[in-house]
């Protein structure tokens, strides 16, 4: 698979639509699809500004959320249409969709996490307790991972609601 000339920074599968999405240090995003046992570039996008810090497909694979270091957010459809965009004017490092794809979480490097609805309206901040007493220390937000409790796997015990 050739297409990037810079270091790869984010790789995400779209399980439902069998696509792979990659981005590099120059801000180039490639959506790959497999055809006859080979990978092809299906879509290419470069905002020519800033770098992609995170991108994630909704659990149903219909939409992709892309965030840039400079605070830009782009949500696109699996067909390749741009659905909406926003400039949040803060550094963004991580993004996560709710399991029902109705809300989207944005994380900043200093540990703030905000909830937006699926069209980009700010809803509320997530209360972060684990950084209390650690203010001022160099501890960038490492991950936001939301598990869908409706996705019953090989559970050996029952979980109460969903754990984020």
């Amino acid at each position: 698979m050739q297409g990037h000339s810079g270091q790869i920074q984010v790789i995400q599968w779209n399980d439902q639509y069998h696509k792979l999405t990659t981005s590099d240090e120059q801000g180039l995003i490639i959506v790959w699809m497999m055809h006859k046992h080979s990978w092809y570039e299906e879509m290419i996008n470069n905002r020519n500004k800033s770098v992609v810090t995170d991108m994630k497909w909704t659990p149903n694979g219909e939409k992709i959320g892309i965030i840039y270091e400079d605070g830009a957010v782009i949500v696109g459809s699996v067909e390749g249409n741009r659905l909406w965009g926003k400039e949040l004017k803060i550094n963004l490092s991580l993004l996560e969709w709710s399991p029902d794809s109705r809300s989207i979480l944005f994380g900043t490097p200093d540990g703030a996490v905000n909830v937006y609805d699926y069209v980009g309206n700010f809803l509320f901040p997530v209360k972060i307790f684990c950084l209390r007493g650690l203010e001022g220390r160099e501890m960038p937000l490492a991950a936001i991972e939301w598990y869908d409790s409706n996705r019953q796997g090989f559970l050996y015990e029952d979980l109460d609601e969903n754990a984020a």
């Binding site: 997530v126 684990c130 996705r151 019953q152 559970l155 050996y156 979980l159 969903n162």
Partner: protein
């Protein structure tokens, strides 16, 4: 690290891993959380470590990561949750996950149970280890 039941959870479970965390991933079942990171103090043997927790933040296992730096830059679960892949320096390392099966052995027969993704009940396999024959039964509320 905080584990929340929902995005408005006012009482999340707080877990101090003692590590600088690099990557966190739920297993496909959602009952194990893998947390990769490194210890900054040098008296801990092997800097890079993957800690495994259950969904309530109870520590299950630690996995020391070999490699020059030992720093895990990324981790990923295999679709069945029986393996994890770790990106360490220029290597990809694989680790096998052994879940705690319900099992028993009697009369040359090994009985073990697990859950299939598409079913709500438990799949119980009776394996006669002498004639090497397997019988499968499904049971609810095992």
């Amino acid at each position: 690290m905080q584990l929340m039941r929902k995005e408005t959870d006012d009482r999340p479970i707080l877990v101090d891993t003692g590590m600088a965390i690099k990557s966190v991933k739920w297993n496909p079942n959602g009952n194990v959380l893998a947390v990769a990171g490194s210890y900054s103090d040098s008296n801990v043997d092997g800097k890079g470590t993957v800690q495994f927790y259950n969904a309530y933040g109870v520590h299950l296992r630690s996995l020391r990561v070999p490699g020059t730096s030992g720093i895990v830059s990324s981790l990923s679960w295999e679709g069945f949750g029986l393996r994890i892949g770790l990106a360490v320096d220029s290597n990809i390392l694989f680790a096998n996950i052994q879940p705690e099966y319900l099992w028993s052995y009697f009369n040359n027969t090994l009985v073990f149970a697990f859950k299939k993704p598409e079913r709500q009940d438990m799949c119980v396999v009776f394996w006669d280890t002498v004639i090497n024959e397997k019988h499968v039964k499904y049971m609810r509320r095992l």
